[in-house]
Every structure is written in C-alpha cells, then in structure tokens.
Symmetry: C2
Subunit: 362 residues, 2 copies
C-alpha cells in the first residue's frame, strides 16, 4: 500500500545490492518511517523477537528471508538447521512462522550447498508474492460482507483490534484488506480502531496505515468496543489471527475474545480474516493447545510516544513497586466466530466447513 503516495511492501530485498533485506521498523511508527537493513539471520531473529516486524504473515515472510541470509553466509546442513531452530524460537504463538520455516527447509534441504542461497531468496520472494495474492483474495471475499451492509445515509462501521493491515503482512493485510478494497471501490466505510494495549498496535499502526491511505477511522480505548456495539455503532467486527485450529478456534491479540463476546451479545457479526497458512491442522482445542506468549512486564508498565517537544519518550504509567502480567494473546472459541475470511472464500469456523474448502488437508 502507499505511504504518502509511494507504494511500499512491509519487507523487500534491497534493489541496489540485491541481497540485503529491508523492513520498516514498526516500533518507530507512527512517528518515523525507518527503513532498516537486515544483513544476517541473527538480525532477522532480533527484528522478529523485538517486534520491528510483527503480524503472523509478516513474521513468516521475515523468517523466510532470515533463512536466505543464513544460506548466503553458510549454506551447510548444520547452518540450515541452526537457522530454522533460532528463527523458530523467536515467537511462540503465530503458526505462520513454523509454516514458513518448514517450507524453506523442504525446499532447501535436498539441494547442494552452493545452490541453497539463490533458492532460498527465490523461495522467500515466492512466499511474499503468494502472501500478497492471498491477501488480495481475502480482501475480495471479505469485501462482500461490507458491500452488503452499505447504505446511503451513513458509513458501514467496522471495528478492528490490533493491526492486521498491510504492516502485518507483506501487503494488503488480512482484516484490513476487505476494508481497503471497499474504500477503494467507493463504499462509505468508517473503522473503529481499538488502540490495543499494551503495545498499542491499533493506535500506532492501524490508525497510521488507514490514515495514510485515506480511510476514515476513529481510535478508541479497547474498553469502549462493547459500549459502541451496545449503542448500535458497530456493523461488523473483522480481526486477524495468529493461529486458527482445525476446528475454528482463533488465537489473536489479547482482548479479541472480549470483543467476540460483546459481538455475540449484541448480534454483531464477528469475522476473522486469515491466509490458510495460519491454520494449524494438527490441533483441535485452541484453549488447551495454543501456546500463549507471555511478554515483558515493561510493555504494561511503560509506554512510548511523542512528547510535546517532538522527541520520542518512554514514560512509566504504573507505580514503581507494582508488578504487571502481560499475556500477549487470547483464544476466541469457534462458537463465538461468525465466520472466517480465507483466500478461498468465506467459511464457517468449523472443522467440516474448513475441510470443505481446503480438501487437500483431509
């Protein structure tokens, strides 16, 4: 998508040298667009762990390029195994990470050492291109849900949590793809952007990318989402996900489950947008089988933003002797999900429905 008129992806290979991986440091947004150069596998692992890149699909794409950088430095079997291990340990919840690494390993392991680097770059590029095509398909299918709610007197109000926009993927986004497409098609949309504490990816990333694309939106505290549904100001909820079970349970950013409960209580459709690489076909019970990442207390006790003088500042917002807990994801049971928006179309959050459109997984 575009930043001030210039098209961007969230990850790409530098055109000048042909091998350095470039990303936008998402910890600096919305205050600075800092295009970081990643030159080693360890730098990629750090970028994922420290969330310079985040979002399940982008984590997968980044890990693929991490393997490519590793193969450029040392294409040995041992180093391939080492890269897969290190990159695989960066984040526990997103399944796309494991998916992308498995795909890289399957493509590279059979090859001789001196063919691996080129093949790894080609495979990573293909993962990225496929992600863009997948998200475009998600956008097209999800746009139906918005189009059928369009009316002349007021916008379609869509609530989203966290960031599942183009910054969370290679381009388009998952939850935001239908919104971008509807907006571009002239449908009057308005997005309630939940700030998404503690890391505020909604306020800092979703608001920023919607703003840069010109999509009308309003930032709200996460606490406000239920009240807006009670008063009839939400037509549709669309969120992304980090892992979906074969039965349709959805792991997503902490707080998603609360909005699914409110949506059900108020008869608001609650949809989850995802590429099929986010589905973990090996598990059936999201609550017991999906590992939930516990992140640092400091993400709750401190917050970063821009001071009145323009400088970026980090402040403490919790008394110094009070501890904090920081589970990063929660699981929304399939029973609360109206449906899934996949690259193959809309489908119920249910094992049978998923197998119906992904028959090859049976």
């Amino acid at each position: 998508m575009k930043i001030d008129g210039t098209p961007f992806r969230s990850i790409w290979v530098d055109e000048t040298d042909g091998w350095v991986v470039r990303i936008i440091d998402q910890t600096k947004l919305p205050w600075a667009v800092d295009l970081v150069r990643l030159t080693t596998m360890d730098e990629v692992a750090h970028a994922i762990k420290a969330m310079l890149v985040r979002g399940a699909p982008l984590i997968g794409a980044s890990a693929a390029y991490g393997v490519a950088l590793a193969m450029r430095a040392d294409p040995s079997d041992a180093n391939l195994s080492h890269a897969i291990t290190v990159l695989g340990a960066t984040r526990p919840t997103a399944i796309n990470l494991r998916w992308a690494l498995a795909r890289m390993e399957a493509a590279l392991r059979p090859l001789g050492g001196n063919a691996r680097a080129a093949a790894a770059y080609a495979q990573a590029a293909q993962i990225c291109d496929e992600d863009v095509a997948t998200n475009a398909a998600i956008g097209k299918h999800g746009m139906q849900l918005i189009a059928e709610r369009a009316r002349s007197n007021k916008p379609v109000n869509i609530l989203t949590h966290c960031n599942a926009g183009w910054l969370a993927t290679v381009d388009w986004g998952t939850a935001l793809a239908p919104i971008y497409m509807a907006h571009d098609a002239g449908i009057d949309v308005h997005v309630w952007v939940e700030e998404t504490r503690p890391r505020n990816q909604g306020a800092s990333l979703t608001a920023w990318e919607l703003g840069k694309h010109g999509v009308p939106h309003t930032v709200i505290a996460d606490n406000a989402g239920g009240h807006l549904m009670q008063r009839g100001d939400v037509d549709l909820v669309i969120v992304g996900t980090d892992r979906v079970t074969r039965t349709g349970d959805v792991a997503n950013k902490i707080g998603t489950y609360l909005k699914a409960l409110a949506a059900r209580d108020n008869g608001v459709p609650f949809w989850v947008a995802l590429p099929s690489s986010t589905i973990d076909w090996t598990i059936s019970d999201g609550l017991s089988d999906i590992p939930i990442e516990e992140r640092a207390q400091s993400e709750v006790t401190t917050i970063t933003g821009r001071a009145l003088d323009g400088a970026i500042a980090t402040i403490r917002i919790v008394p110094k002797d009070s501890p904090a807990a920081n589970p990063a994801f929660d699981v929304t049971p399939a029973r609360l999900v109206s449906g899934l928006i996949t690259e193959r179309g809309l489908c119920r959050a249910h094992a049978d429905a998923l197998h119906e459109i992904f028959k090859e997984t049976a």
Copy 2:
C-alpha cells in the same frame, strides 16, 4: 486508609483554619501526594470536572463541601440555587452527585441565611462520616464472598476494574473495602488490577492504594481480563459503580461490561459494590436511561506518566491526524451481574431483591 503509615481520608476540612476543604489531587497520583486546598465553590466544581477528585461517592461528598463553601461566601437563596446548578453540571453519570446535592438543598433551603454555612459544613461532614460507615458495612458484607473462597494453597484471585477504593470514596472504598477487610483479617488475597484506559485509574490509583496498604496485586492491560478468566486465574470479580437502576443495571467505567460478559462465559461470579446512594430509584433501563459522559479525545490520544529522568511528562500515542472517541462509562445489564454488595447486605441485581432490603423506597 494509610499512606506510608499515616491515616488519610480522601476529603477533609483543614484543621488549622476550620473551613478550607482539602483533597488529594488524584491526577498527580501515583507520582506525587499533592494535598490541594479548595476555598471556593468554583474550585470544587473544577476539581470534580477535571477529576482531581473522582469516584461516585467522593464526587457526592466533594459537591456537598462545594455547597458549604458557597454558603460561607454568600448564603442567599440565589447562591444556594446557583451552587446546586453549577455543581450538578460537573459530571453527568454518577448519581451520588445529584443525591448529595438534593440532600444539601433539603437541609439548607428551610434555614435562614446566617444559619446555612454552619449547617452546610455539618451536613457535608455527616455525608462523609456516613460514607465511611456505609463502606465499612459494604466491606464486612463483601468479605464473606472472599472468605468462602479462601483455601490453603493459593490466594483468592479477585479482578477489579478502575478505582473503587478509598480514593473513590471518603474512606475504605466500595469494591476494595471487602478486599482490605479480607487482607486485614489474614485471608490470602491477590488482586488483578486492570489499568483502565484511557485514564488508567486502575494502574495509577488502585495499584497505588493497594500497594500502600500492602495488598498483593498485579497490574494488567484491560484486554487481559478475559484470558485470565479463561485460564481459571480469577475467582471473583468485584467492581464499583456510578449509577445502578432500580432493576439492577449497572453503569460503571467503560470496559466493565466486557468483563461481565467474560465472567458469565467462564462461570466467574461478578459482583458490584455500592452504597445505596448510588441507586437511581427513578429509572429501570440502564441502557436507555443512564446518560454516558463523553470525555475529551485527548484522554485517548495522550497519556501522562513519569519519564526516566523522574519528570512528569505527557506524550502523544495516536498519529496526529487520527481522531479519537472517548465514552467514559458503559452499562452492564442486570442479567450479567451475580449480585450487589450494599451496606445492608448482599442482594440479587433485581428490582424485587433491592426493594426487599430497601423497603423504604417502595
């Protein structure tokens, strides 16, 4: 309750001069304990509006002292009416404000001008003393709920939202009174303190007052409360309220409704602690009849805390061109409330049950 060993109330008349009203400026907590002097009715109105004092019971007590300061300056009928009008317009949601002002007016209107100031101070002091006694009774009744969940191997985990502690009342608090009493009685309790965006009264006030009293607690993002219930880490939810309908619908800080939904979904008891002055006996439908205050966008787009150098700083956390919305309260329907903790005992959130223990309202 105590601050570093010294007993405090949240509002009192200065002992030296006998008429100046003193409060703790709660906008400065937890970083500074600033004991502000209020000398005019307008200063009291500003203190309520700008939330130097907040919490439904304390808003009522503060307004009572605002009337006293007004009567000291000019005890005329016109000025009494003026004070009631100005103070009554400071905050729309808390019913205690209207209750306290009606009580002051009923006590003062019949009196001659030169008796009004002394009577007003006496009436305000009585409102405060009654609040303390009421909250102690709430604490005693609510403590049963905690005591019956006590066990030897782990603490009773109680989740609370916003601040309904002694800082929200004159002393003891409403939701926190049972917790203080249980803790003081030697019951092992642990409190999940929701930060309560956007103003963070949980992180800055509840965590601070629990810490000062030595009650074990952990601060969490508001988003985390549902997940903690899903994994069995919450035994009981207790919150305060700004207005309860005669039928048991509960208006409280934005986000409360979401926790009530999660509590029901996970079989966790959801209790609301309140003095009967918080009950609005004139209304039956919380969703349609309770006005919800919309506060400034800046409460969402900026946040204040302590920088690494110790200075208090305000930073912006939303892109500069993104608007925000800030509804301050939501309504939890009675069907989601396990029960009410009042000064007369525990009771179902239902008109019949409320009339049973408050027969004089029939």
